[in-house]
């Protein structure tokens, strides 16, 4: 029964996993590019966004085709509608990785004004969130999805720490201003990535239970 539909759903699942892996890779790359001031790797991240966008379009088309042809209901409908929402979050994460990559290209070549300890912690924390939100989707793992949702607080706290550090650096020397602003924007992008990963985890919960995990955090 419905074997064609089930095959299509499998394809959809696989495409989402592929998109998730690409996005995850982009964040990892952009983190490395930031830490090592690797302009070439930053360019790889910028370029990868095209592929992520293309996958988003493919998945969206497949979802719309399935809605049109199969009139999904119940678990099938929740799955397809969740995927439609998740790809928007994944696409935004890709964009934000690209945005960070572009900042890396414009960062001045002078020495960094501070160690990037907290920023790299933040990068790792958001990478973990994205990876685990995708894992939660693949394994239909409610506990993991809820952990991702909780973990967003860690990223938010790191953002506040970084912001405070940068403010005091500017206060010490206005010459730190340009780099501080760049780092603040990068931190903000990571913080946003965390929010999108949380959204993905919430859609995982919705696809399993039909209920929203909590208030949607961002609407961009």
């Amino acid at each position: 029964m419905r074997s064609r539909f089930d095959r299509e759903l499998d394809l959809l699942n696989n495409e989402l996993i592929e998109m998730g892996s690409l996005v995850e890779k982009s964040i990892e790359n952009v983190t490395q590019a930031l830490i090592n001031r690797d302009r070439e790797l930053a360019k790889v991240v910028i370029k990868a966004d095209e592929e992520i966008d293309m996958l988003e379009n493919n998945i969206e088309s497949r979802c719309l085709k399935l809605i049109l042809q199969q009139h999904p209901v119940a678990g099938d409908l929740r799955l397809i509608s969740s995927i439609l929402k998740m790809i928007t979050d994944l696409e935004r994460i890709g964009d934000q990785a690209q945005d960070i990559g572009e900042i890396i290209l414009t960062l001045s070549q002078e020495d960094t004004i501070k160690d990037l300890i907290h920023l790299s912690q933040m990068a790792k924390a958001t990478t973990k969130m994205v990876r685990e939100s995708i894992d939660a989707f693949v394994n239909r793992d409610m506990d993991l999805a809820n952990q991702v949702i909780e973990y967003d607080d860690v990223v938010d706290d790191l953002f506040v720490i970084i912001k405070d550090e940068l403010i005091s650096l500017i206060r010490d020397d206005v010459g730190n201003g340009e780099q501080s602003i760049d780092f603040l924007m990068i931190a903000k992008y990571f913080e946003r990535i965390g929010d999108h990963a949380q959204n993905i985890a919430e859609w995982v919960v919705f696809s399993i239970t039909g209920e929203h995990a909590g208030e949607r955090k961002i609407q961009d």
């Binding site: 029964m1 009139h71 209901v73 119940a74 678990g75 409908l77 239970t209 039909g210």
Partner: protein
């Protein structure tokens, strides 16, 4: 308010138990859809609501069906019951007579003779059946000359002509084309303001489009009965999910 309450209803055709301990409340001015695979008992239950099963030999019923708290299997006048609980069938079945006489038939059997009263009833019923504009200039035309979709709306208008309180519909659009189906579905939505409606349908999209509540039947039992939106988005029972997602059997 509950228009119909079904309590511990069992129904047998000879040795075969077609309905097993059905307990349901149907709210007034709501549309309730019955869904389920063929032979699950949904049409049987529908017919039990105005005692159409009485005509079937070997049919035994126990339990209660309360219409406004009165047991329809008690001392109620069956003709009066069927006036209050009208039925529209799967296949349009207008009488082989004029459109006017089709609609006037019921009121006449209930003793209305006045031409002007009948005229009023015919117009009101055809308007309520969303077919007045299409037939107002040809009321003397034989109803069998109309299209299938028009015939079904004549049948709905005919059911409405005796001022029922409940309208039972047994797959009312399964013999119709998509446009006629949409017309009937819109009509059903309109009618809910005045009537309590129960519809049996094999078309699950139709159940989601028109009904407020849906009951899923399997092997003579109600497996799940809840808000339509809930049943089609987050069914509680795996058997419901398997059926509505097409993974049944």
């Amino acid at each position: 308010m509950d228009k119909i309450k079904i309590e511990n209803l069992d129904l047998f055709y000879g040795e075969f138990q077609a309905l097993k301990n059905i307990n349901m409340k149907l709210k007034e001015n709501m549309i309730t859809a019955f869904i389920g695979p063929s032979g699950c008992g949904k049409s049987t239950l529908l017919k039990s609501l105005n005692r159409m099963n009485d005509l079937i030999e070997g049919c035994r019923i126990s339990g209660k069906v309360l219409l406004d708290n009165e047991d329809i299997y008690g001392s109620i006048d069956v003709n009066m019951l069927r006036k209050r609980v009208g039925m529209v069938f799967q296949k349009p079945n207008p009488f082989p007579m004029s459109i006017y006489d089709n609609i006037a038939y019921g009121p006449r059997t209930h003793g209305i003779k006045s031409k002007s009263k009948l005229d009023d009833i015919v117009e009101r019923s055809l308007r309520a059946g969303a077919i007045w504009d299409e037939v107002k200039d040809s009321l003397n035309k034989n109803a069998l000359q109309l299209s299938g979709g028009q015939q079904q709306r004549i049948c709905i208008a005919r059911a409405l002509a005796v001022n029922p309180e409940v309208l039972l519909m047994d797959e009312p659009t399964s013999a119709l084309d998509p446009i006629s189906t949409l017309k009937i579905e819109e009509l059903i939505q309109e009618l809910k303001k005045e009537y309590t409606i129960v519809i049996v349908t094999h078309n699950m999209q139709q159940a989601t489009r028109v009904s407020d509540k849906t009951a899923f039947f399997l092997l003579g039992e109600v497996i799940e009965y809840t808000d339509t939106e809930k049943l089609f988005s987050t069914p509680k029972d795996k058997r419901t999910e398997d059926y509505i997602t097409g993974r049944f059997g």
